[in-house]
């Protein structure tokens, strides 16, 4: 049985050699993550296909330049850097939780799991703020010679190429003003960050379950904290995906 194999650290089990010395639950998780990687891969490759088939794309430094409670500041990528830092920090606490699990230290596992959960919730809150900001923020756009105010949605992109304003509105005379941009930007942004956010949300739920199970001494009685490790695999995967999302939407 898996528990025995773990306790004795044996590399051999009845059928021959156990692959990577992992039990079936971990094998399942790895294959699930490979499968999920293909889902995200398909999304990101689709995004790349469309993005590089249009002539103009938004400038992320321009789109992602605000910060909560700071009004209309110009802090390019500051907020998303904070989000990324929070998520990666939560990965670190997850590693520490797994480590404490190996030492069979229940209090340590609880502490670090709680920190991981808080990190996950903080990340989701940040994403909620960013979405709200994009969905409600109004930006002047030149549509057929008239200035309209647009937010960013799946079908609206106010960050197109800028042209010289030739109209009569005194507010914009002599200025450059943006035209509607490729709507694929908003579509892919909300779709992919939403799908990733859904994964983070699921991860938080899983982590909460793991935390409660730890607290109820479930794993202590079982003799090992391998479930924490499996939850950790998922959590690290979600973080890794974010690195790619961050790269594709914010950096390039």
């Amino acid at each position: 049985m898996s528990t025995i194999a773990v306790q004795q650290g044996t590399k051999w089990w009845s059928g021959g050699r156990s692959p990577f010395n992992a039990n079936y639950g971990k094998v399942m998780m790895w294959y699930f993550l490979m499968s999920d990687a293909f889902t995200f891969g398909a999304f990101l490759i689709s995004y790349g296909t469309i993005r590089f088939s249009v002539n103009h794309w938004v400038d992320p430094n321009h789109v992602f330049n605000s910060f909560p409670f700071a009004g209309h500041t110009n802090l390019p990528l500051a907020f998303v850097s904070l989000m990324t830092f929070i998520l990666i920090a939560s990965s670190v606490t997850m590693v520490l939780a797994v480590h404490e699990g190996h030492k069979m230290n229940r209090a340590g596992v609880e502490k670090y799991m709680l920190m991981t959960i808080i990190g996950g919730i903080a990340f989701l809150s940040c994403q909620a703020w960013e979405w709200t900001h994009m969905l409600t923020g109004q930006h002047p756009v030149l549509v057929d010679g008239v200035v309209e105010y647009w937010n960013t949605t799946v079908a609206h992109n106010p960050f197109g190429p800028e042209v010289a304003y030739t109209g009569t509105d005194p507010l914009f005379i002599g200025k450059e003003i943006a035209t509607p941009g490729p709507i694929a930007f908003g579509s892919y942004f909300f779709e992919i960050t939403g799908f990733h956010g859904f994964h983070v949300f699921s991860g938080v739920i899983i982590n909460i379950v793991m935390y409660l199970k730890t607290k109820m001494k479930h794993f202590e009685l079982r003799g090992h904290y391998e479930m924490i490790e499996k939850a950790g695999l998922y959590w690290h995967f979600v973080d890794l995906v974010w690195v790619f999302v961050f790269l594709c939407f914010y950096l390039i």
């Binding site: 009845s14 059928g15 692959p19 039990n23 699930f32 689709s46 490729p182 779709e191």
Partner: protein
């Protein structure tokens, strides 16, 4: 009925949580409905698949009526289908819906869930020597996700605007715009929702199959001692786990395009003179996403059939399978190549010809492992003591179909020839023979062979022989002439060919094909009757090992309970194909290697 399993200390070695056993006192619900026993789940997949096969097959009979007799009316059709067959004539919209649903049902619900779902569930634990799947709960969930997908797909048949009708490949923009056709409305949403659940089912099932095969083999069952069925099901599961998520991505994006106003697959479209606001998307992108699943999908169908046929051919030839490692290697090669050839479905979409050349090369490479397999099957038969059981006939029929359909695949893999043959009846003939009929033959071989293990009774042989010969000859009579129609340029998916001068010469042939297809459908109903009849009235199995086979499933009791083996799980000492060795007819895997035993 169920035999009580006494769990012993040794079970603990197999990495299996003993507390998951439910062999003691099962109610009707836990035993037949929400069962966690892999054998019952396998049967559930089989029976659900059979129900779908009857529905999907019946659809083909209805649209073959239209193709064979475009001038006639059938009043009973109106009674059956209401306004879809006004005046006894199938309406064009519903013709497309029928074609679409026929494809969807047969490809996904019958030949994916019904074939690998049945045999992976039933055979993996039995043949590798495990008490059950790694996670019986996930296994049960996998069936119920499939069941829910079935309910949703079924319900789409009854909505007012009809089920999805854009073809089983659901290419946008037809599938993305609700106004494009009546089948693009709610029927399409239900199709996508159903497929999403189907993909979850495949994922849960695949994870289970993989981890069970890797981690739960009994003592001595090394990877190279596994029966070829298990190898085939293993690669099938890997293909499913890695390719279905890409279809999921495509389906999610398509759902967004349909319902949330995005333009992932839409650009510059005018409907009824009105310019749509969608811009920047690419319909070709969807084809890439779809075929990245769609191509591995045909191997998801054919690999289990290959594995089953290998096993059945060897057992009934009383000879070891020829070139075991070559068989495993060619399965592996096919599984790898499956991911690298998807764009050969898209030669005429405006694909860059240089890219096309790359895909032609990789596509034609598949002929190499396929040929290795065919030669090994034939050399397995060579000078064997062949027992022509119905299962054996179907396995031989599978090889025949695979050769016939595979050869036309070489035609279609050439991008230059494909320009002429694309979307004609030639392609219909090709994939029906190599994937549809061959997949079914593998499935039938498996059902006839393992029915005694499933239900403790034999299927009726006489009905089996009639079923086989009608199906084999009928399938060739249906699909062989289609090659000629396709070469003459007759396009697929057309509602009525009577208006074209150039296709008028095929009117009689189309009638003939329709007539035979009704006959073949009737033969399948005979099989269904045989199946149901034999469950209750079939000849009882009296010996543990009726086919004199080597594999582990025949060491279980005649009607194994949950847990499969009474007492300890047997230990394995040899590969699964020691037939006709050292003058002995067969040597089961559980027998130790003798001192003076020769090496094969």
């Amino acid at each position: 009925m169920s035999t009580t399993v006494i769990l012993q200390e040794s079970d603990v070695q197999v990495g299996y949580d003993t507390h998951q056993e439910h062999s003691h006192h099962e109610s009707f619900i836990t035993k037949y409905v929400f069962s966690q026993d892999h054998k019952m789940i396998g049967k559930q997949f089989l029976i659900t698949g059979m129900i779908w096969a009857i529905i999907g097959g019946f659809f083909s009979v209805i649209f073959r009526l239209q193709l064979g007799y475009p001038e006639s009316t059938f009043p009973w059709l109106e009674d059956l289908l209401g306004h879809w067959a006004k005046g006894g004539k199938l309406q064009p919209e519903f013709y497309y819906a029928l074609v679409t649903m026929h494809g969807t049902i047969l490809v996904f619900f019958v030949l994916t869930a019904g074939l690998s779902g049945t045999f992976a569930n039933f055979l993996i634990p039995l043949q590798i020597g495990a008490r059950d799947m790694a996670s019986p709960l996930l296994n049960m969930l996998s069936y119920w996700f499939f069941f829910s997908a079935s309910i949703v797909m079924m319900s789409s048949l009854f909505v007012q605007t009809g089920p999805a009708s854009g073809g089983w490949t659901i290419y946008p923009p037809l599938s993305a715009l609700g106004d494009a056709s009546s089948g693009s409305k709610i029927g399409m949403d239900l199709w996508l929702a159903s497929m999403a659940m189907f993909i979850v089912s495949q994922l849960l099932a695949g994870l289970n199959y993989i981890s069970t095969i890797l981690n739960l083999r009994t003592k001595g069952m090394s990877m190279t001692r596994m029966p070829l069925t298990i190898w085939a099901l293993f690669f099938t599961a890997v293909l499913g786990v890695l390719s279905f998520p890409v279809l999921l991505s495509g389906a999610i994006l398509l759902l967004f395009d349909r319902n949330l106003g995005t333009s992932f697959f839409l650009s510059d479209i005018v409907v009824n003179g009105k310019i749509l606001p969608n811009e920047g998307g690419s319909a070709i992108l969807f084809q890439h996403l779809f075929w990245f699943l769609g191509h591995p999908e045909v191997y998801i169908i054919i690999l289990p059939a290959m594995g089953i046929s290998s096993e059945v051919l060897s057992v009934n030839s009383r000879k070891p399978i020829f070139g075991y490692m070559a068989m495993v290697g060619s399965l592996f090669a096919i599984a790898i190549l499956a991911f690298l050839v998807w764009a050969h479905h898209m030669f005429v979409t405006g694909l860059n010809p240089f890219l096309g050349a790359f895909f032609v090369l990789l596509t034609l490479l598949i002929a190499v492992p396929s040929a290795i397999k065919v030669f090994n099957w034939l050399t397995t038969l060579w000078r064997g003591n062949i027992r022509f059981t119905p299962a054996m006939l179907y396995a031989i029929g599978f090889v025949s179909m695979f050769i016939s359909g595979g050869l036309t695949g070489i035609f279609l893999g050439n991008s230059s020839l494909d320009i002429h043959l694309h979307d004609t009846y030639f392609i219909i003939a090709h994939f029906h023979i190599v994937m549809g009929v061959a997949g079914f033959f593998g499935m039938y071989a498996g059902v006839y062979h393992w029915f005694p293990k499933m239900y403790g009774r034999f299927l009726n042989n006489t009905m089996g022989y009639i079923h086989f010969w009608v199906t084999l000859i009928g399938a060739y009579l249906i699909f062989w002439p289609m090659h000629y129609e396709g070469l003459a340029g007759m396009p697929r998916r057309y509602y009525d060919f009577s208006g074209w001068e150039s296709f008028k010469m095929f009117a009689g042939l189309n009638q003939f094909i329709s007539f035979i297809s009704i006959l073949v459908f009737a033969a399948q109903l005979l099989f269904v009757f045989n199946f149901v009849y034999s469950i209750f009235k079939g000849r009882k199995v009296t010996t543990q090992n009726p086919w004199k086979a080597n594999t582990l499933e025949w060491t279980t009791p005649i009607r194994p309970g949950h847990g499969n083996w009474e007492g300890e799980i047997p230990e394995v000492y040899r590969g699964a194909y020691d037939y006709g060795k050292d003058g002995r007819d067969f040597i089961p895997q559980t027998e130790q290697i003798g001192e003076n035993e020769s090496h094969h």
